[in-house]
Amino acid sequence: MTGLTINHYLMLSAMLFATGVLAVTLRRNAIGVLIGIELMLNAANINLVAFSRHLGNHVDGAVYAIFVVMLAAAEAAVAIAIVLNVFHHAASISVDDYTEMKN
């Protein structure tokens, strides 16, 4: 049996990324959309780490991943702050109701 190749990780990340896309396009709940975004970021991170490893313990990918984790945190903070704000006005957490501006 052949061992784990880079493709294993890449397929996993592709699946995870697709699941993230599924979440962001399916979820009406703004928080749900955020969850989807986190999934997509994680997928990218798996790539980075896997490449990092498969480039021969190339550290850049891992560092990159750390930054991504950090940025994801900041992003979540920003997003939650803004979403709470919108919720405050629209009295709804469903992104489908945020249609004050359209056309």
Binding site: V21, V24, T25, L26, R27, R28, V33, V95, D96, Y98, T99, E100, M101, K102, N103
Partner: protein, 665 residues
């Protein structure tokens, strides 16, 4: 500059001068405008007569100068004098002078008296210009200016609907003919590189015969328009809406003569196409008999004369359609004699109308001989002339020669025999209906007491022209025609298909035969009309006969519904097409607006801009496409973030998939 040219320039300038002076000093002149007109025309007439007397030295002179030049090609215009021109000049100035004189009495008291003289001046100017031109350009220019002047003169009483419709009709109908003539000019210029008669004729040898035929037919189309040949004759009867002197001028000596003159002038070219000759002859003959039949039924004295004019013009064209030298001479000779007797008739009718206080219906006249002896006498003379009274009248000589040349033409093509008999019949009809008008007007019992009571002889300004013209209607037949329009000597400026000499047996025979026929038909025509209108038995027979041919009579009196036909088929159709075009033009717009369902937007002021986008939907599709596209995009921009995400991600991924697919292998 030769004397002849100078004189012809004087002749040309005189009427223009009259028109300009009258226009400029309208207020100061008042009714004295007539003096200006008559005076200038007198000078012109004097010059013309002088030229005619010295024709031997003057004929053949000319003057040419460059109008402009384009890319090295010089467009030259100028004056050319020859026998035909001199003959025309005399006729035109004479008739015009007499008409000017006649108008002084006839138009007296008209509110636009000065205007009338002004346009009369312009009209005469254009006719003179037309005949002295040595090229088709100035001829055409004058031709068109004549159209304008006739428009103005026919529409003199423009407050009347019938008058303004008539003038429009005259202009439009002749314009249709002009297009043909213009196209012929284009073809001539293209194939010979010039529009001067001399140069054209010199180069005709290089032109293919089919082109010549087309050119000849084009010219004939123009001539037919101006000279009222079928089917472009419709304007002429209506043009009787103009004042009677105008009718006399236009329909006797000038405008209608222009077409005949054109064909006569371009004869060298025309005769090269037997086909065109035949068409001219056939159309002329048909027009002659066709118009004569209508004249049978007309009761308006001027309408009778109008149809008679059309008919007589048909005679001229028929003659010109033969192609021989005698035929050419006959056609143009008839033009001259016709100018005199028809002017006399028109002015005579004018005198009658004047006397009867603008009553034109013959059925309400009668017995005026006593009241209007001079008018009656001159009218009779003219009638005799037009009917072709053998040996004494000018009309006889010209008409006889037409018939003779037709019979002679039968030697080349037997069709001309047939045409001969048609014209012979027409000549008989002419005698009949002309005398019919004479009897009805001057003899019999007065049918309208009121008209009769107030009738009185016209003043001298009216009767003098009548007398002069009546005299000419007799004497013009004698002798002088060979001086100006020599059948055997005109070859210097005109070529024929075949020439005869007086001694030619064919011609001799034809001449004799035609003479006999003429005499018979004159007798028949005049006698029959006397029988029908001056005897009681005749009146009943006439009624019987009329019942017998009722449908024909109805058709003739309805002018064979030509006007209605044109109205429906051409004018209405054009109008509908025009409306349709306008609708298309406007309603690319509305149609599209409706289609997109934004009718409401159209009305609301705020969306004025919105509207514009679709304005030209059909014309510039992009606008509407853009507008529609914008609407779709607006809808996609739903405001829902999920839709946006879907759009963005799906498009990106789709693009990626497509790229992957394309880059496979």
């Amino acid at each position: 500059m030769p004397t002849g040219v100078l004189l012809s320039l004087v002749i040309l300038a005189m009427p223009m001068l009259s028109a300009l002076v009258i226009a400029a000093f309208k207020k100061q002149l008042g009714t004295k405008a007539d003096a200006v007109g008559i005076g200038t025309m007198g000078v012109a007439l004097a010059c013309a007569v002088y030229m005619a007397l010295n024709h031997a030295t003057i004929a053949g002179t000319g003057y040419v100068f460059e109008w402009f030049s384009v890319a090295g090609t010089s467009w030259k215009i100028g004056i050319g004098l020859d026998g035909l021109t001199l003959a025309m000049l005399v006729v035109v100035t004479l008739v015009s002078f007499l008409v000017h004189l006649f108008s002084k009495g006839y138009m007296h008291g008209d509110s636009r008296y000065e205007d009338f003289y002004r346009w009369l001046g312009l009209f005469t100017f254009s006719m003179i210009g037309l005949v002295i031109s040595d090229n088709l350009i100035t001829l055409f220019v004058m031709w068109e200016i004549m159209g304008l002047a006739s428009y103005k003169l026919i529409g003199h009483y423009f407050q009347k609907q019938s008058a303004y419709l008539a003038c429009k009709k005259a202009f439009m109908t002749t314009r249709v003919g002009d297009v043909g003539m213009f196209l012929a000019m284009l073809a001539l210029y293209t194939s010979t590189g010039s529009l001067r008669f001399e140069e054209i004729f010199a180069k005709l040898g290089d032109v293919p015969s089919s082109t010549i035929t087309w050119i000849a037919l084009g010219l004939f189309m123009g001539a037919a328009g101006k000279s009222a040949q079928f089917p472009l004759h419709v304007w002429l009867p209506d043009a009787m809406e103009g004042p009677t002197p105008v009718s006399a001028l236009i329909h006797a000596a000038t405008m209608v003569a222009a077409g005949v003159y054109l064909i006569g002038r371009m004869y060298t070219l025309i005769v090269l196409s037997p086909m065109a000759l035949l068409v001219i002859a056939v159309v002329g003959a048909f027009t002659a008999i066709f118009a004569a039949s209508i004249a049978f039924t007309a009761t308006d004295i001027k309408k009778v004369l109008a149809y008679s004019t059309i008919s007589q013009l048909g005679f001229m064209f028929t003659a010109l359609g033969v192609g021989s030298n005698f035929a050419w001479q006959a056609g143009l000779f008839h033009l001259v004699t016709h100018a005199f007797f028809k002017a006399c008739l028109f002015l005579g009718s004018g005198s009658v109308i004047h006397a009867c206080h603008h009553e034109q219906d013959m059925t309400r006249m009668g017995g005026l001989w006593k009241k209007l002896p001079i008018t009656g006498a001159t009218y009779l003379v003219a009638c005799l002339s037009i009917a072709g009274t053998p040996f004494v009248t000018a009309g006889f000589y010209s008409k006889d020669q037409i018939l003779a040349s037709l019979w002679a033409g039968g030697h080349t093509s037997s069709v001309y025999y047939g045409i001969f008999w048609v014209l012979a019949l027409t000549a008989a009809m002419t005698a009949f209906y002309m005398f019919r008008s004479f009897w009805l007007t001057f003899f019999g019992k007065p049918r309208d007491a009121h008209v009769y009571e107030h009738a009185h002889e016209s003043p001298a300004t009216i009767t003098i022209p009548l007398i002069v013209l009546a005299a000419l209607a007799i004497v013009a037949g004698f002798g002088w025609k060979d001086a100006f329009l020599p059948a055997e000597g005109a070859e210097t400026y005109v070529k024929f298909a075949n020439s005869f000499t007086h001694e030619d047996p064919v011609w001799h025979h034809a001449h004799g035969f035609a003479l006999a026929v003429s005499a018979v038909i004159w007798t028949l025509g005049v006698g029959l009309s006397w029988f029908c209108y001056m005897t009681a038995t005749g009146a009943t027979a006439r009624k019987r006969a009329r019942e017998l041919i009722a449908p024909l009579y109805l058709a003739a009196s309805a002018k064979y519904w030509i006007d209605e036909f044109i109205e429906v088929v051409i004018i209405r159709t054009t109008g509908i097409v025009a409306l349709l075009s306008a609708w298309i033009d406007r309603d690319a717009i509305d149609g599209f607006v409706d289609a997109t369902g934004s009718v409401g937007m159209k009305t609301s002021a705020a969306s004025g801009v919105a509207d514009i986008q679709i304005v030209d939907g059909a014309v510039d599709g992009t606008g509407s496409l853009a507008w529609g596209g914008g609407g779709i995009l607006s809808r996609i921009q739903s405001g829902k973030i999920r839709h946006y995400l879907f759009g963005a991600v799906a498009v990106t991924a789709l693009f990626a998939v497509v790229v992957l697919y394309m880059s496979r292998s």
